[in-house]
């Protein structure tokens, strides 16, 4: 009885079996949605951060090295179950409300399967938490490389790292950065970011529902090892740099020293400066606000960002332009009664012999000589009018790298001030101005502003008799063995090399019998030019440019000390000490000048007003 019913039952069993097998075919083989979701859920990619390239000075002294920082991360989706929250709080030195706040924040902000719980955890806390990390399912550490520094020095050149920002992330072309990555924000860290950062590695692994690593994906076949960044060798001489920093102690000012033969920057100092260790990722939060408020502006890189009228240090340039433009020749003398008369105005000069040669005009810094030279040029028959003559003068300056960005690899470079003729048109009316209106430009005052970098570059041009290499702080990128092409090309000025010798003779006289003779250094031929820059806001700025030796020069330097007074009192001695330190580090002479070193080091030239302001700004009240 009812045996036929067995057949129906068999049929149903077979049909259900087939139905299930077909359903499995659909979700397993045909639809790849589930495989994709599964990987999203349980596959994690961990970035292996390469070691960032180290930074050395020109003598292979290590300056910048890596210092790991730890971020405590949460695996997403965040599922905390049975975690000893209070225990973790104690380890992290936070309280429960703080914990909850961080957890809520982590939940609201996740990125690629993870979320930051606490950043920049110290080595000590890291070690404590790591020991018990297996108890805190879902938490894991990410290790990244912060920077640390061997010397409290060179912060403006080195720059610093920061977290990559939204804009960087949007603008990047190669998808290299992820949120939270560190990137060079300033200085060589920024300029050579592409070399220093290295190549990130990748590690794929499975996680469980708590985000705990459950072993490699495809036996690590897809893993890519990280490739460390290229080390960077700077042209800085850290020893010279620190010596200069010491001399500028308690002063606002700059030193830029260049090797004229290569354009390599030997020292670049802006004083005051911040300790680079205070500006690394871990510490910047504690120091940045104070540094920003400090009225002496330690973050501001005066060496490349501050334009100063060059004052008398401009006279060699004016002489060179006059010679090239035939406003004067090397035998031209001008009489100087101690002033230059301009209608009813009088421009004062200093006491010196009445008749001045080109050389003496430099050595004794005669204003009259340059007023005459400038007038000759502005009124020359070569030019239809003053504007044309001015434009020609301006072009000469530009060929020295004045009034334009040099293209250096130091952050914050500015053009400085070099006005268009239209500026004077606006000021005096179109075509209604003559040499008389702009005569102070001839001795480096008025609407002219050079950064100490540009001043040093001028010294470099004179040392090279007519050309310069774009200054740069990179000496070698390890593993690449070349530096950017633009730093290897000579930039020629519009001055013929023959005109340099008389000017250099004059500059040499400055250190023999002129304004810097009192600090001559035996055994060293130095060509220099002092400058005392009028400062409407306070004491004059002290400036000096120089290079040495005269033949085959090895160092060109510019020094500016703000609100210090005469160029010969502060800037020149500092420059000479630095030149000596660089060229004759072991000189016996040098050690006998310890009093000079001490004087420079121990003089506090920061105006009292600013010192008081600084104390309130940084330390409160």
């Amino acid at each position: 009885m009812y045996q036929h019913r067995s057949l129906y039952i068999y049929a149903v069993v077979v049909l259900i079996g087939l139905l299930y097998i077909m359903r499995l075919l659909q979700i397993q083989v045909i639809d790849d949605k589930y495989a994709i979701i599964a990987e999203k859920i349980s596959l994690r990619k961990q970035t292996i951060y390469p070691q960032r390239g180290l930074i050395f000075d020109r003598n292979d002294k290590l300056i910048v090295y890596n210092d790991p920082v730890y971020d405590l991360m949460l695996s997403v989706p965040i599922k905390l179950k049975g975690i000893d929250t209070l225990g973790l709080c104690a380890l992290l030195e936070i309280d429960k409300p703080e914990f909850d706040k961080r957890l809520a924040k982590a939940k609201s902000k996740s990125y690629r399967g993870k979320s930051v719980f606490k950043k920049n955890i110290s080595n000590l806390v890291f070690a404590r938490v790591q020991e018990r990390l297996y108890e805190f399912k879902g938490f894991f550490f990410e290790i990244r490389q912060d920077r640390n520094y061997k010397f409290n020095s060179s912060s403006h050149v080195l720059g610093y790292l920061g977290e990559v920002n939204k804009l960087d992330l949007e603008l990047q072309s190669d998808e290299f950065y992820e949120q939270g990555d560190f990137v060079g924000k300033k200085g060589v860290e920024k300029f050579y970011e592409d070399y220093l950062r290295g190549i990130k590695g990748e590690q794929y692994f499975y996680v469980d529902k708590f985000g705990v690593n459950k072993g490699p994906y495809k036996k690590g076949k897809l893993d890519v090892p990280a490739i460390d960044g290229n080390n960077l060798k700077l042209s800085l001489d850290i020893d010279l740099q620190q010596y200069g920093e010491m001399l500028l102690n308690n002063k606002m000012g700059s030193v830029v020293a260049i090797d004229p033969k290569t354009g390599e920057i030997l020292a670049l100092i802006s004083s005051p400066f911040y300790n680079p260790s205070n500006f690394n990722i871990q510490n910047r939060g504690n120091y940045y606000a104070g540094a920003i408020k400090d009225p002496t502006k330690p973050i501001f890189n005066r060496a490349v960002s501050a334009p100063y009228p060059p004052g008398s240090t401009f006279k060699p340039i004016m002489a060179l332009i006059g010679l090239q433009d035939e406003a004067i020749n090397e035998h031209t003398h001008f009489g100087c009664p101690g002033y230059y008369r301009l209608g009813r105005r009088i421009i004062k000069c200093h006491g010196h012999t009445f008749s001045t040669s080109l050389q003496r005009s430099i050595a004794s810094s005669c204003n009259t000589y340059y007023c005459n030279t400038f007038k000759n040029m502005m009124q020359s028959d070569k030019y239809a009018n003053t504007e044309e003559a001015y434009n020609s003068w301006r072009e000469y300056l530009k060929s020295f790298g004045i009034g334009k960005e040099l293209g250096i690899d130091v952050s914050g470079e500015i053009k400085g001030w070099l006005m268009d003729a239209s500026f004077y048109d606006k000021m005096h009316g179109e075509g209604r101005w003559s040499y008389a209106n702009i005569i102070s430009l001839s001795f480096g005052q008025g609407e002219l502003g050079l950064t100490p970098m540009q001043m040093a570059n001028v010294a470099s041009v004179i040392a090279n008799r007519g050309y310069y290499f774009t200054p740069h702080v990179v000496r070698q990128i390890e593993g690449i063995d070349k530096i950017p092409e633009k730093y290897l090309m000579k930039n020629y000025t519009k001055i013929s090399p023959t005109h340099f010798e008389p000017v250099i003779e004059g500059m040499h006289e400055v250190t023999l019998s002129g304004t810097a003779a009192h600090i001559a250094i035996a055994g060293l031929d130095i060509a220099g030019k002092t400058g005392t820059v009028q400062n409407p806001h306070g004491k004059n700025h002290s400036a000096y440019i120089a290079f040495s030796p005269l033949e085959n020069p090895k160092i060109a330097i510019a020094v500016v000390v703000e609100e210090a007074g005469y160029g010969s009192t502060w800037a020149a001695p500092i420059a000479h000490l630095l030149i000596e330190h660089y060229l004759q580090p072991d000189s016996v002479e040098g050690s006998s000048r310890q009093y000079l070193v001490d004087k420079m080091k121990n003089s506090n030239l920061i105006p009292l007003k600013l010192r008081a302001l600084r104390d309130t700004a940084i330390y409160g009240n």
Partner: protein, 418 residues
């Protein structure tokens, strides 16, 4: 009649093959990257329980087949008493009072109740003079099925209670009018349609169908009243389904059903298990990620992955190939058991083996259907595969008993009352 009593090797092979897949899957689902061997941990226990069932199987084979027939009602009663006992002395685990603690072991009487019920049903149905026409007989059968179902529901284990519905397959085979099955299927269809479209839309649809039906049959006055009556009953049923669903079912039960019907997506809540399970199985691809390489299994994303959701591990690590083979092995085992039932010369034996095949089929359909999203989440194990001593032991004994009954058929005379 000279053939000696011998075990059916095909069924035995299928039984052992499925058991082996089970042990490997439990090992994979529970071991931590080879932290222990197959013989340790839960896979070790699984092997042990299989061993115990083989040992008991040997005893079963030593026993006289007549014994089972003679003692069937006693076995049933003993197991029913155990079900009652569990209500009083059972350990409360996850809100269900289904386990009896014996030393370090937990026994789940509901797994054995199916075995006892199969005996009782085989016994009653094979009684001479049994008829589906007799009210007393139907009441007897109903009582035998409803007593364990009721007791198991009381334990809080609705899933295991539903397994007893598989006896309807046996009843149908043994002559129960198919109308009941038709009604049941109709009820399920109305139930689903009501939940999908709502009882109002469903009722309007029913009325429209009635009108269309009229348009073609208005000449025939005889169908008028019955069709109106049927429509009224259908609508009434639909309304009551809606009412029961909204007011009687608890919200997690509502959600489970809604998730199964794809009415709501709730991958974090009620649908979490099924969603993770589909992802695990779906990500297995054609040939799977390899033994012990299931990332979803290893990641512990699926709750109860070594018990109710063990099929995920098979699907993920063995891919379509192994999941299909597993289903195929089950289907073959069920069909083979049907075959053994068919060749039995005694009605008792036929019904008993049929019961086993029906129960295995029901478990397979519900359990695998649940993991691939074709069935609502009903917590019953996949026979011979899911981790669990009671389940392994109960099915082992069940199968060995069936094989014994089959093996002893050579001594049976062809019953006259088949």
């Amino acid at each position: 009649m000279e053939t000696k009593s011998r075990i059916d090797f095909i069924a035995l092979f299928l039984f052992v093959a499925i058991t082996c897949i089970g042990i490997a899957s439990v090992y994979s689902a529970t071991s931590e990257a080879g932290a222990f061997t197959l013989l340790e941990g839960r896979s070790g226990k699984q092997i042990m329980w299989f061993g115990v069932s083989v040992f008991l199987g040997i005893i079963i084979f030593i026993l006289n087949a007549q014994f089972f027939e003679a003692f069937s009602m006693y076995i049933y009663i003993a197991l029913m008493l155990l079900l009652v006992a569990v209500l009083f002395i059972g350990a409360d685990i996850n809100g269900a009072r289904s386990w009896i603690r014996i030393g370090s072991f937990s026994l789940q009487p509901s797994e054995f109740a199916k075995y006892g019920t199969a005996f009782a049903i085989s016994s009653i149905l094979s009684t001479i003079g049994f008829s589906w026409e007799k009210k007393a007989d139907i009441l007897k059968i109903a009582a035998i099925v409803l007593i364990p179902m009721g007791l198991i529901v009381l334990q809080g284990d609705t899933g295991s209670a539903l397994v007893f519905l598989s006896f309807f397959i046996v009843f149908y085979r043994e002559g129960l009018t198919p109308n009941i099955l038709v009604l049941g299927i109709a009820a399920i269809v109305i139930f689903v349609l009501t939940l999908v479209f709502g009882s109002l839309a469903f009722s309007i649809g029913t009325v429209l169908c009635l009108l269309v039906f009229y348009a073609f049959t208005y000449t025939n006055k005889k169908v008028l009243l019955p069709s109106i009556a049927i429509a009224a009953v259908v609508i009434l049923f639909s309304l009551s389904v809606q009412f029961l669903f909204d007011n009687v079912l608890q919200s997690h039960q509502q959600k489970r059903i809604q998730v199964t019907l794809n009415l709501i997506e709730d991958n974090q809540g009620a649908g979490y298990n099924v969603n993770q399970s589909k992802i695990a199985i779906g990500s297995g691809g054609f040939s799977g990620k390899g033994f012990l390489n299931g990332s979803h299994t290893k990641g512990d994303f699926i709750p109860e992955q070594e018990t109710d959701f063990i099929f995920c591990t098979i699907g993920e690590e063995g891919g379509w190939v192994l999941s299909s083979i597993t289903i195929l092995l089950f289907v073959l085992l069920v069909l083979r058991l049907f075959h053994l039932a068919g060749r039995a010369k005694k009605k008792f034996k036929r019904i008993f083996i049929y019961s086993l095949a029906s129960i295995i089929f029901f478990h397979l359909m519900v359990n695998v259907g649940m993991t691939i999203g074709l069935m609502p989440v009903i917590g019953i194990p996949l026979p011979l595969i899911s981790y669990g001593g009671s389940s392994i032991l109960a099915f082992g004994i069940f199968i060995f008993t069936a094989l014994k009954l089959d093996a002893s058929r050579v001594y049976d005379l062809q019953s006259h009352y088949i």
